[in-house]
Symmetry: C2
Subunit: 212 residues, 2 copies
């Protein structure tokens, strides 16, 4: 059968896509780490080694890595790899997309049985550094997507993340944990509000660009 991709764009195996989708509680995050250094391989591999991915389903290719499972564990693993990859003297970006509810998703490629505490948080919660972030939220299958965005903007204000509008995205900034807490809370709100969402985000640390 032909494997196709939906706009969001998860796996589909038929055309048209009928009878697909999952009722399981599967969230996912596809992300890429970009350390702007000659040592980018060791930065990435070192971070991977320190990150506990036992609570998520994981797959990597030349472009990115995807974690799938319960949202709290997916978010914990992405936060873990980002904090572990951080170096005080390296400009680095992480590009990612959280998503849940694609009508073409499947029950497979996930890990949902985990019940234990978050495996990465204890090792990273005391590391703090400032993060610049841009994000763009896409609530799908709803005409009122603007209303959902409004809620999320207010959440950023309430979290003290100083949201600023830029064309095609919103910028926020704050401590790494405040930013990750916010991204996860946006996902929580979306999974209660819309059948399908995608939250694209980019994190940046140690940028040499001075902004006034």
């Amino acid at each position: 059968m032909k494997t196709m991709n939906c706009g969001c764009g998860c796996s589909r195996t038929d055309l048209p896509w009928e009878g697909r989708g999952t009722k399981l509680d599967i969230s996912g995050c596809r992300f890429s780490l970009y350390p702007m250094t000659n040592d980018f391989v060791s930065v990435i591999l070192g971070a991977l080694e320190k990150t506990d991915t036992s609570a998520v389903w994981s797959q990597s290719d030349a472009l990115s890595t995807v974690y799938r499972g319960k949202l709290s564990y997916v978010a914990d693993a992405v936060r873990g790899i980002f904090v572990h990859a951080w170096r005080s003297d390296v400009h680095m970006a992480l590009e990612g997309q959280f998503s849940k509810g694609c009508p073409g998703d499947t029950d497979g490629d996930s890990l949902l049985g985990r019940e234990e505490p978050l495996p990465n948080m204890p090792g990273i919660k005391d590391k703090h550094f400032p993060v610049l972030c841009k994000l763009a939220l896409y609530p799908m299958s709803t005409e009122n997507y603007i209303d959902e965005i409004a809620k999320v903007w207010r959440m950023a204000e309430e979290a003290g993340l100083n949201p600023v509008s830029i064309h095609y995205a919103t910028r926020i900034c704050g401590d790494v944990h405040a930013v990750f807490d916010y991204l996860e809370s946006v996902c929580r709100l979306m999974e209660q509000s819309v059948p399908h969402y995608i939250l694209h985000f980019t994190l940046s640390v140690n940028s040499p660009t001075n902004e006034e």
Copy 2:
């Protein structure tokens, strides 16, 4: 007035967002270049210097750059900077999002009077190198977004870009110009098909990861 951001997420200056939007032919691309080398600043600045941005409205911050104007010129400028930034020995990624039609967009921050030939194409059309690409398309304000995706998938097949489905995205690969031609043709189809779309894409060159 408070500046806010829609999901897609362009600028809004009121809440709720009424009476906004533009009927002008403004497409945009927000993107970031990530050269994985100690020389990342000179790679980026060198590429900026060689790229003719006279046909687009442009703005940069610490996270990304945005070009706005007629689609052909926006796409020409992004292609220009990517080709100019390419070095045979540097692993580099470009993360971007093409978009048009956000209901909260404005008439401003654009350049639409240009009629001349594409300014960057003559200087880059004979440079060729293979590119890996992942993309995710979000046709907004339509319930049938899956149908739009199906068309776009077939276009990738017809263009010989070997589309492969991965969770939350589609992968394609090909010569840099074939990939950019395809991205632009997806935008052309979307602007005829839906009132508002966003096309997220990531380009990668010279990855050290071997895939079987």
